[in-house]
Amino acid sequence: MDNAGVQIAFWVLSILTLVAAGGVMVSRNLLHAVLFLIVAFIGVAGFFVLLSAEFIAMAQIVIYVGAIAVLILFAIVLTPQSIRDNSETAMVGPAILLGVALTAVFLFVIHDTTWATDATDPGLSASDLGRALLSTWVLPFEIASVLLTAALVGAIMLVRSETEESEDVPDADA
């Protein structure tokens, strides 16, 4: 049953992910494209579950579905032009060329990799990941967080208007 169940789940997830990924490319409405993208993300999270990498699956849903997709939706809603002017462009030819080239590279990498896995390997648990991030890789981890903070501050500085009204602070009379 285990094998059959995993097989069925694999094919269902494959079809779901591929159809959703196709929908991202085909749909004219940008918002529909983002929703298809979310379905594709969820499908990929399902693959992680099938590979018994639960933590990465959860992280996939939290980060990609919960945060990134919502931010893309926000960006689309805040730019009304993006939904209307989404017709044919002259960039179709180069885009197809680039896509074919990228697929060729990926196929090459997939062909070259040894996919045999060690069945006794229990995989990466969340606590191993945490220990690695806070001991061996602590410096890149901290640098990444500083970079993100700098990006956040920079974004706020860019959108901040010169004449910022003072906020409604409750005055200290009571």
Binding site: M1, E54, V62, V65, V70, F74, V77, D168, P170, A172
Partner: protein, 420 residues
């Protein structure tokens, strides 16, 4: 498992025995692996009978309306059936008959799909909740992350609902719910990180085991985390003190403006479902789950757990019935300026205590010392930070602030004199 060692099917303290016996019986007679198909059906029916039906219909719909009615000095539903107990059934029948309208300019597919996306995660959330020592459907090692991940999905559904309705009030509601969820997710996840750091596990049965072993619930060890969690989750759930996404007095009904009939009913019912899931999660994490200092040997643990969930849900109803709605900028400012620093402070405090615990040789009794430190520390932190931000309690709230600042009654015909 130290508790509940019997495996008899009639031991109703642990319903997993019964389901296991049924499944083993089916496995003997049924061909192939039919038991795997029967198992979710049994689980679904059992969960429906012992938890969903009484909670959703009678605590969620009926109880909430009756209790709020009581708090607001009116009667609430009392006509259908004895004490109005059949009111939820009548409501459901009414909603089923009503036409579900779709505006002409709406995005019809997405408007149809939004309630579906809204309902599915609510069911998934209960998969990781431990109802008893062995009564957990999926003992995921990262169950806490699973809960956070899945409870982020309905926001997306609400956004789709608001956007697809093609109505400006719906879109306002959708923007508000997304903005608010993103803001309140930050302190919420930080206080849950405090819990994970302290208990050293991310599995929900593991967190309950930790509380059983230390004979103390996490609400006493981390009161600040509990307070922040409660406020943040009630904002996430869009319940009344913080329901700016569907504020009737501001934006009609928010993202639900164009919904009617059973489509609206799904949103309404699942709002209660999410509140129950959050209450169940909170009672697992902070109120010790199914444990009750040994009482779980005598009373079925799942009953204790459901009682705790309903207690927590009552606090939701209570805040809803007594607190006025906040303005959106106040609400966002509260998340970023008040809850987030407190959550970071709590994380710092709890991490230090955990390090101390790892180093010290005081044994299990150290949790009581930590409790003695954390309760006053939390109270002082809340008080000082509120003073720093200028949130002062109204000591004598006899007159509204506007009247007091205007210095009493201001004549209408002379507006220049207003405000001194």
């Amino acid at each position: 498992m130290p508790t509940l060692v019997t495996d008899h099917w009639y031991d109703f303290r642990d319903l997993s025995n019964l389901s296991r016996v049924i499944l083993e019986g089916i496995d003997k007679v049924a061909p192939y692996e039919l038991a795997y198909i029967v198992a979710p059906i049994i689980g679904f029916v059992a969960a429906f009978v012992i938890f969903v039906l009484p909670s959703q219909l009678f605590v969620g719909v009926y109880g909430e309306r009756r209790i709020i009615g009581r708090m607001q000095a009116r009667k609430g539903p009392n006509r259908v059936g004895p004490f109005g107990l059949l009111q939820p059934v009548a409501d459901a029948l009414k909603l089923l008959q009503k036409e579900a309208l779709t505006p002409t300019a709406a995005d019809k597919t997405l408007m149809w799909a939004a309630p579906v996306f809204f309902v599915a995660p609510a069911v998934l959330l209960f998969a990781v909740i431990p109802f008893g020592p062995r009564m957990v459907f999926a003992d995921v090692p990262a169950g806490l992350i699973f809960f956070i991940a899945v409870s982020g999905l309905p926001v997306l559904a609400a956004f789709i609902a608001g956007w697809s309705s093609n109505n400006k009030y719906s879109l306002f509601g959708a923007m508000r719910i997304v903005a608010m969820s993103i803001s309140y997710e930050v302190p919420l996840v930080l206080v849950l990180l405090c819990v994970v750091v302290f208990t050293n596990t991310m599995s929900l049965p593991g967190i309950v085991e930790f509380q059983v072993d230390s004979n103390l619930w996490l609400i006493f060890m981390q009161p600040l985390a509990f307070v922040v969690y409660f406020i943040a989750v009630s904002a996430e759930l869009n319940r009344t003190p913080t329901d700016i996404a569907e504020a009737e007095s501001e934006i009609v009904a928010g993202y639900l403006t164009e919904y009617s009939g059973m489509k609206w009913g799904l949103f309404y019912g699942m709002d209660i479902g999410y509140a129950l899931a959050a209450a169940a999660f909170a009672s697992t994490i902070f109120l010790g789950g199914w444990s009750m200092w040994g009482l779980e040997q005598w009373v079925p643990p799942w009953l204790l757990f459901i009682a705790k969930t309903h207690l927590f849900y009552f606090v939701f109803i209570w805040t809803r019935g007594t607190l006025p709605r906040l303005r959106i900028d106040q609400l966002m400012g509260f998340a970023w300026k008040f809850l987030l620093p407190l959550a970071v402070f709590n994380l710092f405090l709890v991490s230090l205590e955990r390090l101390w615990w790892n180093e010290s040789d005081l044994g299990g009794g150290i949790v009581f010392i930590i409790m003695a430190i954390n309760i006053p520390a939390s109270a002082i932190a809340v008080y000082l930070w509120a003073r720093f931000l200028g949130y002062k309690p109204e000591r004598i709230p006899t007159r509204p602030r506007l009247v007091r600042e205007a210095g009493g009654y201001v004549p209408v015909e002379d507006p220049a004199a207003g405000g001194q």
